[in-house]
């Protein structure tokens, strides 16, 4: 147990999230225990309403669990003030959303530098450019989001999420709004981050093809972890397991 704790990037213990009160209360997460190992790529899947987005929000400190404890990189989020929580997010967590990831007023470069600036740190010379180069957008540094394609915007978002070298990168349906080519590029970038830079990635998706890039797939149903696939062979296998889950 102690060994796993130290070697855990994200740990959820008996995490429940209930929306509303009384009769209209909805249990989105029901006492979930999850451990995410460092330098792994985890996909979270499940039918809509299974609680996969809530799991991500709670694990990332965007939402507060009704009960249970979330630990990111050894720091417990329980009882943290909004300000302290923000600082944990800023230092240890990166985000990529499905859409509207970038501030429209800022150039690609400025968007990437944003987390550093918010942390009160002046980006080192070339730091931001190098990050953009890594996602293949060195030549788009001065472009505004409106001048970039959806796939390019998503790659800028990945660069921004990685620039602080976070303990975990959370991605919420990062390919949901993209075409196949752009999706493939985004997934390849995430995979590379895990393999080459030992980055921990947690991705919510409903796309078995996307999930096939992960080391591990968590299948959620009714707010609980219903199934776990380690090193899934391919997308069809995941799709079958998903379908089985939905039939239950």
């Amino acid at each position: 147990m102690t060994i796993t704790t130290i070697g855990t990037a994200v740990r959820l213990r008996a995490v429940s999230r209930i929306y509303g009160t009384g009769e209209s209360a909805v249990t989105a997460l029901d006492a979930v225990d999850v451990d995410i190992a460092p330098a792994t790529f985890t996909a979270v899947m499940g039918p809509s309403g299974s609680g996969k987005s809530t799991l991500l929000h709670c694990a990332a400190g965007l939402d507060r669990p009704t009960s249970g404890e979330v630990t990111i990189d050894g720091v417990s989020l329980t009882g943290l003030s909004e300000r302290a929580l923000t600082k944990v997010r800023r230092a240890r967590v990166g985000f990529v959303f499905q859409a509207f990831n970038l501030i429209p007023a800022l150039s690609a470069e400025q968007n990437v530098a944003l987390p550093l600036r918010l942390a009160g740190r002046r980006p080192a010379a070339g730091e931001v450019r190098a990050m953009l180069a890594e996602v293949g957008l060195a030549d788009r540094a001065r472009h505004r989001p409106s001048e970039l394609s959806g796939g390019q915007q998503q790659r800028v978002a990945i660069a921004r999420a990685l620039v602080t070298r976070p303990a975990v990168l959370f991605a919420d349906e990062p390919t949901g709004a993209l075409d196949t080519t752009a999706s493939r590029e985004v997934l390849r970038l995430l995979r590379t981050a895990v393999d080459r830079h030992a980055q921990t990635v947690v991705m919510v998706t409903h796309d078995p093809y996307a999930a096939a890039h992960a080391d591990r797939v968590l299948l959620l149903a009714d707010g609980r972890v219903a199934d776990v696939l380690d090193h899934p062979a391919d997308a069809p296998e995941i799709a079958v397991r998903m379908a089985r889950l939905e039939e239950r």
């Binding site: 987005s53 929000h57 965007l62 939402d63 909004e82 300000r83 923000t86 600082k87 997010r89 800023r90 230092a91 985000f95 959303f97 499905q98 509207f100 990831n101 970038l102 501030i103 429209p104 007023a105 800022l106 400025q110 944003l114 987390p115 600036r117 918010l118 942390a119 505004r144 921004r160 602080t164 919420d172």
Partner: protein, 770 residues
């Protein structure tokens, strides 16, 4: 800061409302303060060549806080002048008596009646203004005069307190005024209040020597202190002007804060996702607040940069109309006032930051999770702080209104204004609560049509948005009803009041003159009173009382309010002489505080005039006299006051309506632009552009109706409370008059602006992508 600049640059449309509000607000404040600062007391021109002036002593301050002066007698002044002339460095000490004289051309008095009261001077005092004789000789005998623009030997018709006269011009001078022989001036003037010293050498050392020579029998003025000799009529004009400028500045700032606050609130609501994203990538609540302050600061600096030159350039253009309206003295010129401009710039920043305050706090509480949500749903129309602030404002305002009768008369009008502002803010804050039932009620007849349904549901779900459109309308209508209602009610009741005081049906009144001369009064059938004043000293305290000189009485008759005064009064007349007069009676219906025998008043106040004659027979024609009905005579005063009040009203309403237009237009532009998606969906569902237009117009009108009803209600409450307190005070019922037509006009202007502002983005969108 860099981030803020990029945000502002990118989304300038969202900040345009704030920008325009600040630019205009700063412009108004910069212009008004420049005018105000330019309007400083100045040494009268005809004394400008005199470095040291000695004024007669003050006998203490009057009720308005201004010093009350007594005159030297002619002999006193001559004696003092003689002593002053002997001081080293003094070349001459010249007493400066002045009296009423007015030029008559073609049987009609000319020039400004108030200025004419001190147009006559002694020839020796021409030196005080540095005026010289350019032709002819100085006046020596009664009936001789020296003035500008008339050749020696010509004759001029004039009017003095005695009556019409024809004077012979002995010489031509280069300064304004009528200069007569010193002895003649002494006979026509009520004492002397000023002695001018011409000096050789240092004026300040002469002033110091004069101070010790004069002691308590006068005040020595030199340098800038001479500016206090500005004529009272000019001071009053400047004071009136200052009232207007102060009102403009305070209303301008208040409305600007209001507009900025509502604009920022709306833009913050529209930027929830963006702020959520910032929070998600690591912005703390404090950073969000700082960013919004920084953005607003950038906009305020830009707005100020535009507004300051705007105000600085507009101020000189406004000077002539202000002079024409009698709100600044003739010859008023605008000067460069860097402090006023800097102050306006600073005020713009303070106003902007005050306005953004609540919006920034609200934004900082946006959860990071909002980045993931579609932001179109407005969460709650009312937040807890909004409830608390709204209810507190209403309670505070209502408490002020209830306490109104207990306050002093002076404090009442400002208390009512304060209460009105509090109630209007409260109403604006609580508007979302009222909107839902109001919308249900007003859209009831159209509930079956598609447009009716859309408007109804749109406004119900977007109560907050409707409230922010309604708020400026509420403010404008509230102030408009309040101001027009106050003014109309006051003038109505004042007219009735004053007419009741004028018993005779016909009145012989001054015509182009400050009062009636003795010649004009003589032979008129009816009662008249010679107006003057007395300084009465009781127990070491000196007070000025109005005096009416009348026929057929002995000693002093007191009005009922002064019944407590001693039976023998120590008085000082306008000509500086003192006497002890017996009180012979107390009267209830005295037209002035004190009544004195007419000839006594005339003897000690050669310049005294008669205000009017209450006729009981046909009037005898005379120069500077006309016959009016009592009502028309009273109406003259009211009209004169009314004219200035109308100017005030027009300026303030224009300011208010202008800002409302801006605020409404801005709110709707922003809201409609943000709802393009929604309208696109409506179009896809089969609605045409006209359909969309009907929906936007319907919503805009609904907001205007809401604002009008709320604003009107608040204002009427304030007026009723004010009426109650005044009725209690004067013990007489007052009819409340509200010019509804005028206010309806204001509401219609608001409605027009609102419909236009709501429609333009729809049409523009159609012309563009859709």
């Amino acid at each position: 800061m860099r981030l803020a600049w990029d945000m502002v640059r990118h989304r300038f449309a969202a900040f345009a409302g704030t920008f325009v509000a600040i630019a205009l607000g700063v412009g108004v404040v910069a212009g008004a303060t420049t005018l105000w600062a330019s309007s400083q007391p100045q040494t009268p021109e005809r004394l400008s060549a005199t470095p040291v002036l000695v004024h007669s002593p003050s006998v203490g301050d009057n009720d308005d806080g201004y010093p009350e002066y007594r005159s030297w007698t002619i002999a006193e002044a001559a004696g003092l002048a003689g002593r002053l002339a002997a001081l080293p460095g003094v070349t001459a000490a010249i007493p400066d008596p002045s009296f009423y004289v007015q030029r008559v051309v073609g049987g009609r008095p000319t020039g400004d009646p108030q200025t004419a009261l001190a147009e006559g001077h002694a020839w020796s005092s021409a030196a005080l203004g540095g005026y010289r004789l350019s032709a002819g000789a100085p006046p020596e005998r009664p009936g001789e005069v020296t003035l500008a623009g008339q050749a020696p030997g010509s004759r001029v018709d004039v009017l003095t307190a005695h009556g019409p006269a024809t004077w012979t011009v002995t010489g031509t001078t280069d300064g304004p005024g009528f200069y007569v022989a010193d002895a003649t001036a002494a006979a026509l003037s009520a004492g002397v209040r000023l002695i001018g010293l011409t000096v050789s050498g240092d004026a300040e050392s002469v002033a110091a020597a004069a101070r010790s020579a004069v002691g308590t029998s006068g005040t020595v003025l030199s340098g800038a202190a001479r500016d206090t000799l500005e004529p009272e009529s000019v001071t009053r004009i400047r004071w009136l002007g200052a009232q207007l400028l102060i009102a403009m500045v305070s209303l301008g700032s208040f409305v600007a804060i209001f507009v900025v606050a509502s604009t920022c609130a709306l833009s913050a609501a529209q930027r929830r996702r963006e702020i959520g994203l910032l929070r998600a990538v690591g912005a703390t609540p404090g950073q969000v607040i700082r960013m919004m302050y920084a953005e607003t600061l950038v906009v305020a600096v830009l707005g100020g940069t535009v507004g300051v030159p705007l105000g600085a350039l507009a101020a000189p253009l406004l000077a002539p109309p202000l002079v024409a309206a009698g709100l600044e003295p003739a010859g008023f010129a605008v000067t460069w006032q860097p402090a006023a401009l800097a102050g306006a710039f600073g005020l713009g920043i303070v106003v902007a930051l005050t306005g953004v305050w609540t919006a920034a706090r609200r934004s900082s509480r946006v959860p990071a999770l909002d980045a993931l949500r579609d932001a179109a749903i407005e969460h709650r129309a009312m937040t807890r702080p909004r409830w608390i602030l709204g209810v507190l404002s209403v309670i505070a305002g209502a408490a002020l209104l209830i306490a109104l009768p207990a306050l002093s008369t002076d404090a009442q009008s400002s208390a009512m204004m304060g209460a009105a502002m509090l109630l209007l803010i409260g109403a604006a804050l609580l508007a979302p609560v009222v909107i839902a039932p109001l919308v249900r009620f007003t859209t009831w007849p159209w509930r079956r049509g598609a447009t009716g349904m859309l408007v109804r549901e749109g406004t119900l779900t977007g109560a907050r948005r409707v409230a922010s459109t309604a708020a400026p309308v509420l403010l404008t209508i509230g102030f408009a009803v309040l101001l027009t209602g106050t003014v109309s009610t006051i003038s109505q009741s004042a007219g009735a009041d004053a007419a009741a005081d004028v018993p005779a049906a016909l009145v012989a009144a001054p015509d182009g003159t400050p009062g009636l001369s003795d010649a004009a009064v003589a032979g008129q059938p009816g009662d008249s009173y010679l107006s003057s004043h007395l300084l009465v000293t009781v127990g070491g305290r000196t007070t000025r009382y109005g005096v009416a000189g009348t026929d057929g009485q002995e000693g002093v008759v007191l009005s009922r309010e002064l019944a407590d005064l001693p039976r023998r009064l120590d008085v000082r007349f306008p000509d500086g002489t003192t006497a002890t007069l017996p009180v012979t009676a107390v009267r209830d219906d005295a037209p002035e505080a004190m009544l004195l025998p007419r000839d006594l008043v005339r003897r000690h106040d050669p310049g005294a005039l008669t205000e009017a004659v209450l006729l009981d027979g046909p009037a005898v024609p005379a120069t500077g006299l006309r016959v009016l009905t009592a009502r028309a005579y009273v109406q003259l005063d009211i009209d004169e006051e009314g004219e200035i009040v109308q100017i005030f009203l027009a300026v303030l309403l224009a300011l208010g309506v202008g800002y409302t237009g801006l605020a409404v237009a801005n709110t709707l532009l922003m809201a409609t632009a943000a709802r393009r998606e929604e309208y696109r969906a409506l179009r896809l569902a089969g609605g045409g552009t006209s359909h969309v237009l009907r929906v936007t117009s319907g919503e805009a009108l609904l907001a205007v109706v809401t604002g009008t009803l709320l604003g009107g209600t608040v204002a009427v409450f304030c007026l009723l409370a004010a009426r109650r307190s005044i009725e209690e005070e004067i013990g007489q019922a007052i009819e409340l008059v509200v010019p509804w037509g005028q206010n309806l006009g204001v509401a219609l202007v608001c409605a027009l602006v609102a419909v236009l502002a709501a429609g333009v983005p729809v049409l523009r969108a159609r012309a563009g992508s859709m």
